[in-house]
Amino acid sequence: MKRHVLVLIFAVIVGFSGTQAAAYDYKVDDPYAATIVGTPDVLEWKVPEKIDYELLGLKVFPDRPTPDVFWYQREFLYTLSYQKQEAPLIFVIAGTGSSFYSSSMIFLQKAFWGAGFHVICLSSPTQMNFITMASATCVPGNIVEDSQDLYRVMNLAWQQVKNRIKVSEFYLTGYSLGGSQSAFVSKLDEEKRVFNFKKVCMINPAVSLYTSAKILDDMLLEIMPNGYSPEVFDRWFDERIAKFGEIYRMMKHPQLDHDFLYDAYRVLHKKGQTPRKENMAGMIGTVFRLASSTMIFTADVMANYGLIVPKNRVLGSADSLTDYFKVANRISFIDYFNDFLYPYSQSRNPGLTKEALIEGTSLRSIEPYLRNTPKIILMDNEDDLILTPEDLSFLKDVFGARAKIYPRGGHCGNMTFKDNVAHLINFFKN
């Protein structure tokens, strides 16, 4: 009762109407925990348990040979879930290093399909299958080029499915890095006019890829204050494993995948043991590093650049990659940017400065477009970990009333929360 009175007083003071003042029910107020834990099942938007989807493949560069070490990459893969009747088609772009198999992507696929849309889910241009099969340069990180790659596969995918589905109009969304890419893809579409996107929603985008990557890189330094050290990491990792061991019994179906760490953590959180901030930062940093190490290794092999693997070395399908993994794990995204992406871009584009490349991979480079394009909206959180305060002010300023900023949620932690999904679907529906 007391709380109701408080809410009422608050509503009067702020001048909101009763419904608007209704509390935001996503309760995880620590942005690190929110990022890791996500949304409790009971508070998630209800999606169909199982849906029909097709796994489809594209030969984007049919003449490009695949190195033996990536023998299992044969085609660029994506998924399609479609309605029998005419409906809008939504393209969804995954976050850094993620594929359409990631739990967030499967969630969005189900939510959109359940709401009556056709859905095509695309892996991130930083993901291995995308780099090997669909990236023109095979060196991801230049968001303008990555968006051109995305546009190419969207176009090819559309050609592949257009005779089978009835599409009224095209929409676009993506989260995290995929959110930033949505903006660039939308801008590209203004010239190419293949889709004429009617609505675009950016979910928790990075404003500057460089800044956000640096924030995530630095999370590992919370557990290794003197710089990356395999010994310190190993000790920290062993401690975490011991901790997980205690809670393993409580996990019903532990899966051996990238989400394993998060799943284990979720159980700890449910037990009410509040984890220390540096350990949570370390976990987020570890997951990001796992994704970036694969990206770096894949780009290195594909471009034969000689960053980790000696230039001109041919790796066989069964060769041990453990040592390369160890090296890739100590290379930060910023190292990759400085020692690979930048010199590589410069070699193809003489005169390109590092500052220009950093600026070009930021939403600030397309600010006028974002400011003047009402079809693009933004969903974000006050405490999004990958944004600096300046980034957040930039987004609020540019998007104004088109921005929905939630008080909590960390980075994408509230993405599956019922209110968030309702807002997202409502935007595309009306």
Binding site: V69, F70, S98, L256, D257, G306, P310, S320, F325
Partner: protein, 257 residues
Amino acid sequence: MKRALCLMLLTAFIFLAGCGTAPVRKEPEIPAKYPVSKYVKPDVTYAIDAYDPWEPMNRRIYIFNAIFDNFVFLPVVQAYEFVLPVLVQKGITNFFNNLTEVTNLTNSLLQFKFVKAVNTFGRVAINTTVGLGGLIDVATINDGITREDEDFGQTLGFYGLGPGPYLVLPILGPSDLRDTTGLVVDSVVYSMMVGELIDLTGLGSPEDDILNYSLTAIYAIDKRSNEPFRYYKTGSAFEYDLIRKLFLIKRQFQIEN
């Protein structure tokens, strides 16, 4: 069935032999900017390290498994899932879960985990009778007695035996020397019990190959159907290393419980 198995193994070995050819190098190698020699210290333990002396063989079997899974195992599983109603699939899963409780029972007893043994015994009693021969998992649904997870590999671990070398088994996937030994022992106990049951219930003769092989085949398909793992879907270029580590951690957790 036996012949098919031989053929499959033969194909596997031909494939594995084929993998062994050294790649042809065209241009001279230039050292990497972050060379392994400088950044990997041989005397340091890395979080990803594991005792894997048979790595070259294991990596090849891993590849074989991925191909077998993709072209044989999963298509069969998909056909199975397509043909049978979900309820029937669930019944089959429960049926085999009930039969394989023998592994949980024997190994709980061998580790003096009497609560687990009593739970398992209770489950078998309830599910075999009220649960119509194990088709319905009444014990979980009505009584909240969930299935235990013990095997002879864990028993050996309980008595202090380390995992030994990591081992990727054809078709079955990640294992280690200790757990492979455990698997063999559990399988022998299981087959003996199933043989007795077949004899006892008069469903056929324990020497009936067709019956035995069908049971094994359905068991394998059911198991694969309930296992969401798919090869090369982690999206990591270092999947072999990650799976190896996660497998060993998982076994460690299981032994500790």
